[in-house]
């Protein structure tokens, strides 16, 4: 049994003026101890999917239209609020994109870590504090800094604190939502390395959300490419990186400048992602796709298995035309 299985998950944001289809029929599977990379442009629905797993979608606008989120054999969408609270921070925890705003400015970092240990660890406050300090040391922050406030830390240090907080209760799944996007490049490498080490040592599975294919290549076992709220290509790291099929995935790889060739210009994918409040019929990518036919504009595409461990949402690829 997989650790987490998301089936046909759809999340819409409904307001009086618009109906935003943020996530549309997403299927994902994460095996125990493995890392799944979720890749896509800004607005592809990656963060919504992640928040959706923890049921942290903003209410009342955010709604689950369909789907199941099976975590350790239990559907989280059917769990009560109390059950959900015992999952959050304990079995599934999350690292957010911007460490500058993710910590409460008026509580000491030690407090903020101890809080989650005290809540789920069923231990005394003193013991929680002690364990919080140990967590800080584990992410490379000196113990005596536990009594300091977030504004006394740099961005990279804050992200370490957030990571310490997320791992404090030994979760079986860690959701990392662009954990390094807000950090500068030298710190990015440090933080990623540290996360990989901690993860390996504890056997934590991870959902790594990013738009950086380099990070995916170094950290993930499986990759899912998202576009306009759908998974359009899904497979093992090797399959996706060595044999990408979907025109959008090809475009993503094509947009990375090569170091070997002397290139004058970058090769972006032409056009913009469709407005999630007014998605096109048929394949969501057809108006930017070089291979699109009339059929693409009218027929819904299915995420179909091309080979074992490699799924693609494109009719032409499946027919072998691309």
């Amino acid at each position: 049994m997989s650790l987490l299985e998301i089936k046909n998950l759809s999340i819409h944001f409904v307001t009086r003026y618009s109906d935003v289809h943020a996530v549309n029929g997403v299927d994902l599977t994460i095996e125990e101890g493995k890392t799944l990379g979720l890749v896509g442009e800004t607005g592809a629905g990656k963060t919504t999917t992640a928040l959706g797993i923890l049921r942290l979608i903003q209410k009342p606008q955010g709604r689950y239209e369909s789907g199941e989120i099976i975590f350790k054999g239990k559907d989280l969408l059917k769990a009560t609020d109390d059950e959900m609270r015992s999952v959050r921070g304990n079995e599934i925890s999350m690292i957010f994109q911007d460490p500058m705003t993710a910590l409460n400015p008026i509580l000491t970092v030690g407090d903020q870590i101890a809080e989650v240990i005290h809540l789920h660890g069923k231990c005394s406050q003193a013991e929680a504090n002690e364990r919080a300090v140990k967590m800080l040391e584990m992410v490379g922050i000196r113990a005596e800094r536990a009594g300091e406030y977030p504004h006394q830390f740099s961005g990279g240090m804050k992200q370490r604190v957030v990571i310490a907080m997320a791992l404090a209760c030994n979760p079986s799944l860690l959701i990392a939502d662009e954990p390094t996007t807000a950090l500068d490049v030298t710190i990015q490498a440090q933080v990623l390395e540290m996360m990989a080490d901690l993860k390996k040592g504890r056997g934590t599975a991870m959902l790594l959300i990013t738009h950086d294919l380099g990070i995916v290549a170094e950290n993930c076992d499986d990759v899912a490419i998202m576009y306009a709220g759908e998974v359009i290509e899904y497979g093992t790291l090797e399959r996706i990186f060595h044999n990408p099929k979907h025109p959008y995935t090809l475009g993503l790889f094509g947009s990375i400048p090569s170091l070997d060739k002397d290139e004058e210009r970058l090769h972006p994918i032409e056009g913009l992602m469709p407005d999630p409040a007014a998605l096109p019929a048929g394949c969501k990518f057809h108006d930017r796709c070089a291979y699109a036919t009339d059929e693409c504009a009218s027929c819904e595409q299915e995420l179909a298995e091309m080979e074992s461990g490699h799924k693609v949402r494109c009719a032409r690829v499946m027919k072998g035309e691309i």
């Binding site: 923890l54 942290l56 959900m84 609270r85 015992s86 999952v87 959050r88 921070g89 304990n90 925890s93 999350m94 957010f96 911007d98 705003t101 993710a102 910590l103 409460n104 400015p105 008026i106 509580l107 809080e115 989650v116 809540l119 789920h120 406030y149 504004h151 006394q152 957030v162 907080m165």
Partner: protein, 324 residues
């Protein structure tokens, strides 16, 4: 922190001195001779000179100012009323506790009602409760205090006869003055709390707190409330001045023998020593409230606490430079 507080207290001295000089100068320059007003027509030059000497009005501007300041600093003596010849300090001692009690209870009501209602309104945003509270708050905040006071008097005092209409003799008689004084402030605190709370509960760190599995109650009280308190404290500080000013109207409508009625009568009679004394007292209270507000900031927000500590050092350096 202690250094900062001491520094702020010392700063109150020049501020108060400035207020004192301005207030005194205004009343000095105001046209009209108080001696003539007191004596009425048909006085003799001797009588005039004697009265002027008695009131300390025969000296020049600096002489009068000097003896005024000297009296306040050494004897806490604000002089005497032109008309009744009663010591102003004595009147203050009698009347200020009444106004202070009204003000302090008013502030307590303001916080005890305004804060929770604002939080409730924010947490249940767009509910019937939220809309109801919003409408009530808007009406209360928009209505001038005297209208509210008179409406209250007519309804509860005259029609229903539930509450006495004047004085502060029985516990029941406190209800109307307190309510009319505090209600507009309750409304404003409530609105401010709602706005801040809505802003704070959308912050990333609240989402982090949720992702940790904390209960909504813990999130609200431990993570959100303190963060939304700072603007509310600022507004509350301003409200204290409003409550003081409001006391002039409330006390006159309900015929309460506090600072409000005293000051009102003095202004109508142009009894300048009293007006000056009252203004000084209000300025002093506002200074104290500002100090308390700033200390509260530091108690709540570690970032401000850090800035206070570092600004103390900077100021010292600057002051040293100025001396040398």
């Amino acid at each position: 922190m202690a250094k900062y507080i001491i520094k702020r207290i010392l700063w109150m001295i020049p501020v108060m001195l400035g207020v004192l000089i301005i207030v005194f100068t205004i009343s000095y320059l105001t046209p009209g001779d108080p001696v003539i007003t007191i004596l009425g027509s048909g006085y003799t030059p001797e009588k005039y000179a004697a009265k002027a000497a008695e009131l300390n009005l025969d000296k020049g501007y600096f002489g009068q100012l000097g003896s005024y300041i000297w009296g306040i600093v050494t004897r806490f003596d604000f002089g005497k009323s032109f008309y009744s010849n009663l010591s102003i300090t004595g009147e203050f001692a009698r009347r200020f506790p009444i106004t202070a009690a009204l003000g302090i209870f008013g502030c307590i009501i303001m916080v005890v009602l305004g804060l929770p209602l604002g939080i409730l309104s924010a947490v249940k945003q767009y509910s019937v409760l939220d809309y109801t509270l919003t409408v009530i708050a808007l009406v209360l905040a928009a209505m001038p205090g005297f209208v509210l006071a008179i409406l209250g008097l007519v309804l509860f005092g005259v029609r229903l006869r539930w509450l006495p209409i004047t004085g502060l003799d029985t516990p029941k008689s406190w209800i109307l003055p307190l309510a009319t004084n505090a209600m507009p402030c309750v409304a404003m605190i409530m609105r401010q709390t709602r706005t801040n709370m809505l802003e704070v509960i959308r912050q990333d760190y609240i989402r982090t707190a949720r992702s940790k599995g904390l209960s909504e109650r813990t999130i609200l009280w431990k993570h959100a409330l303190k963060n939304c308190l700072i603007p509310i404290i600022t507004v509350t500080g301003g409200m204290v001045a409003m409550v003081m000013a409001g006391s002039i109207i409330t006390e006159n409508i309900f015929n309460i023998k506090g600072m409000g009625t005293y000051m009102y009568a003095a202004i109508m009679q142009r009894d300048y020593p009293i007006v000056n004394g009252c203004v000084l007292l209000i300025a002093f209270i506002v200074c104290c409230v500002n100090l308390i507000v700033d200390i509260c900031y530091a108690l709540i927000d570690p970032r401000i606490r850090a800035r206070y500590a570092s600004s103390g050092k900077k100021h010292k350096k600057k002051a040293h430079k100025e001396v040398t």
